[in-house]
Symmetry: C2
Subunit: 246 residues, 2 copies
DNA sequence: ACAAAAGTGTTGTTTGTACACCCATGC
DNA sequence: GCATGGGTGTACAAACAACACTTTTGT
């Protein structure tokens, strides 16, 4: 094989690490943010500032190198916790990115995507490594320039989120424990980018058996709205045979 | 495939290969096979016999090591061509597998899945490296014991195939250029594992605008059936923003 | 009382499903 | 002619979408 010759040359001991294919793990973390200027909540995600080359100073997805003795899933959870302190309510592999020129050195990035409920976002003080200077939360619809191919990655993650919202109960992963139907509907409206009929929406989730009504109500505005909680027996999404199920 | 193993060892004399995380690419290739014993065609896939440890002698998915200067997609296409001579009609990334213990040495496998039309399978003579001893096609429903975690991988690929058959025109990737509606229906029946009403099936694909009727007919049995061809303007499946579209 | 959101009812359309039936060919 | 799969029509049910209407609160 042609490749053999080339590999041997490149892999010679005298070369630097740039001759090695390294595996990184990154995560696109979605949450919702109430924007006073907007009617509906807005999809937001955290970015970390790069403190070294390449792309020093630019924003990038949180992530890190895969350790020798940890699985991809573990690496995603670990790097997430280290960089943002987040333990997400939903975490799923998104895609493996491996274009040759996506980084100056050869890096394969296994990218995950996650949903976090607003109440799962730790306060800055609770995260030892938190560095307010170098972490920011941005509106997914108005991304700053990102390092590497991370803009493309976020776009793909958004596509998956919208897609999955159409056929699964994934939006619950963005809401706190108890919520009103209007709040749930607003989540879907934010993700799908269109208005939904409140009456029909109510019936749909009603029939889906995914919600458990509580006897508590959200008061304050007009007629109090019943609070619901998510039925834990129903999976947020069918993830196929990879995930062990009861 | 084997070459790289050796190279890595040579390239890092002070370390064993088990200290390096290597990236492999494998592909689950689906095609259809007419089984005289069965009413409908059967989903089949090619396996290659392992000729060295680990799992020497067992069947495994075709694949190989990722080259330093090729993208993941290119590696999938290349290893596919090298081991089986196949250029598939549909090729998509499936999942990245990275459990620590899935191989004695640390290997991350980026797995693809592919569909090939029966007429795209090259004859053995046309593939220089073809080794009849060490390549076999098996019924996806009756897998022999496989090396590594490949059984799990095939199960996941089958789940994805069935899933995708439900909401896309993916089944066309398994048929030759011209086909009857009954043949197309049989493909869906094989994938989904249940019978479909011929009348309703006809109307569904009719309305979907994905088929172009020809003026040719398949004769031989009873009333001749019109041959259709696939409308190239319609994508087999929506693959999101990762794939450039017109 | 009134505005506004919560929640219910009604109606028409679209989609899916079951199945009866005619059509064209090989035997 | 008759069996068989190709192809059409129809009737019912479920899901979806539009929107009028009632209920319950804050002000």
């Amino acid at each position: 094989m042609v490749t053999m010759t080339r590999t041997v040359v490149l892999a010679a001991p005298s070369e630097q690490s740039s001759d090695v294919t390294r595996v990184a793990v990154s995560t696109v973390i979605f949450t919702l943010r109430r924007d006073p200027a907007q009617e509906n909540p807005v999809i937001a995600l955290p970015l970390v500032r790069r403190t070294r080359d390449p792309y020093e100073g630019l924003w990038a997805l949180p992530g890190g190198w895969l350790d020798q003795d940890e699985s991809l899933d573990d690496a995603a959870a670990r790097t997430l916790a280290e960089t943002t302190g987040i333990a997400p309510s939903y975490l799923e592999q998104l895609y493996a990115f491996g274009a040759v020129d996506r980084s100056p050195t050869r890096v394969i990035s296994i990218v995950y995507w996650a949903l976090v409920r607003p109440d799962e976002i730790p306060s800055h003080e609770a995260v030892p490594a938190y560095d307010a200077e170098n972490v920011t939360w941005v509106d997914a619809a108005h991304l700053p320039p990102l390092a590497f191919d991370h803009t493309e990655i976020v776009d793909y993650a958004l596509w998956r989120l919208r897609n999955k919202a159409g056929y699964s109960r994934i939006a619950h992963g963005l809401l706190p424990d108890e919520f009103t139907l209007a709040e749930l509907r607003e989540v879907y409206e934010s993700i799908l980018g269109r208005r939904l009929d409140p009456a029909n929406f109510r019936r749909q989730v009603d029939n889906s058996e995914t919600l458990i009504p509580t006897d508590r109500f959200r008061t304050g505005s007009h007629r109090p709205a019943r609070l619901y909680r998510y039925n834990q027996d129903v999976e947020l999404a069918d993830r196929g045979p990879l995930i062990a199920r009861p």
